[in-house]
């Protein structure tokens, strides 16, 4: 993607892996178009966001597993009022909270691609779209979503 194809203007805070290494597998995974989330090796519970131990069984042997990059809209919002200089004059944008039913119903936040004024339905099926910011000083990838065809 070129800069002009990013969903939101550049200049918002860029994501960086946690200095303590907690979520390194996730940020590396998305750069390779893979959605990798935590899954406890001991009890198989999916967990998101990342933590150092499993909330279910307290095992510290928490593994990472690639999951299919799709989900459903659990909730959404359409932001109109710009609260950051980078968003001035940008217009509305859509944020979706996406549930992954095939991964223990964990949820993640992303933007919904397409018309920012589109009608949005909770429960709609989505596919992930990896938005690579390769030209950034510290390259990173955002995970957006598009309504499944």
């Amino acid at each position: 993607m070129s800069a002009s194809q990013f969903y939101l203007p550049e200049g918002l805070p860029a994501p960086a892996p946690a200095p303590d290494g907690l979520d390194k597998p996730y940020w590396e995974g998305v750069q390779g178009n893979k959605l990798i989330v935590q899954r406890c090796k001991a009890c198989k519970t999916f967990q998101w966001g990342p933590e150092w131990l499993c909330h279910k069984c307290h095992s510290f042997d928490i593994g990472w597993e690639e999951v299919a990059p799709n989900g459903v809209i659990y909730s959404w919002e359409r932001a109109w009022h710009p609260v950051h200089p980078a968003l001035k004059e940008h217009g509305p944008y859509i944020v979706v909270l996406v549930e992954l039913p095939h991964a223990g119903n964990i949820r993640m936040i992303g933007n919904l691609l397409g018309d920012p004024r589109q009608e949005i339905k909770i429960g709609s099926k989505l596919d992930a779209v990896f938005e690579h910011h390769a030209g950034s000083k510290m390259p990173y990838t955002l995970v957006h979503w598009r309504v499944s065809k």
Binding site: L12, P15, G49, V83, Y140
Partner: protein, 393 residues
Amino acid sequence: MTNRTLRGKTAVVGVGETTYYKRSGSPDSEFVLAVKAILAACQDAGIDARDVDGFASYSNDRNDPSRIAAALGIRELKFSNMQWGGGGGHGSGAVASAAAAVATGVADCVVVFRALAQGQFGRFGQGPKMAAISGDAAYSLPYGVLSAAQMFAMRCTRHLHETGVSRDTYKAVSLAAYHHAQNNPRAVMYGRPLTSEAYDDARWIVEPYQLYDCCMENDGAAALIIVSAERAKDMKNKPAYVLGAVAGSEYRNGAPCHNAPLYATSSFTGIAPRLYEMAGVKPKDVDALQSYENFTGGVVMSIIEHGFCSHEEANSFLTYDNLIAQGGKLPLNTSGGNLAECYMHGLELITEAVRQIRGDSSNQVKNAKVSMITSGPMVTPASSAIFGSLETL
């Protein structure tokens, strides 16, 4: 262990606040605002400020009790308490801490206060401006989830979806607050009424919140004073007895990246039953309710979770007529609250709850005996409190 309760052991005997300003409107620094509010509360109570021996606050209030104690010449500081997390959700929790300290002899005269100069220290309604972010925020800020409104909107959207509650209830909450502010000379929106048309025509901030669903950004400070029930009897004001004050959050409410299992709640499903049990009252006993409004949708959820109506009843119960002090079934935010009095991070809701018991609210509910506050919907931890008059003990 039946005496393990706060019920009736302490009382609020003084309240005070500074002038409430629009953000950047304060001629005083935040520290000066804090001290002025504390002195005002002491004067209201008829207490020498040097005899205060404890402080409780929340949300990382920047005004360190040791500095305040030195500035005021407090004789001995015995209690200096800050609650973790929850933003404005810990106002009632600070009351719980102060009351617990007094009830157990840890301190004798504790001030609960909050000071905020958003002009001096930055606006709550603006997003952070750092170049890079890690941790939980790395999963939201880059997607444009930057402000409090944007952080909480999806909880409300999900709540509306799951329950069938209408956004008309949001409007009722907003109009009632502005109505009350018109009778309250302290209110920033005093003299600036809100019409139904102006509410409807206001721009979206973030769906499902329009402009008048959102709290203001202000400068100011407020404080209240808690002493033992015994001592309160002999003081100049009618005491507002602490019947109950509890804080907390549900199972994994703080799970990162919006993974709280009970997402479509305002975080009170555990607090409400504990509060009523401690206070020994039921929702129908509550004469006036001050419910923290970061956003109107959170108020609607708070009211339902505290049992004032069910989800099914909400659309018919949460109307303007029912929410105003003049004849409403559930007088709500009778000072104007965070929407129209002042965003004093909810402490102004607590001083208003005290005023309802004392009988000196600008929107007084006749013979109010039980007065309740809910602090901080959708955050973790949240908190709630109930005050009662002498007859309720």
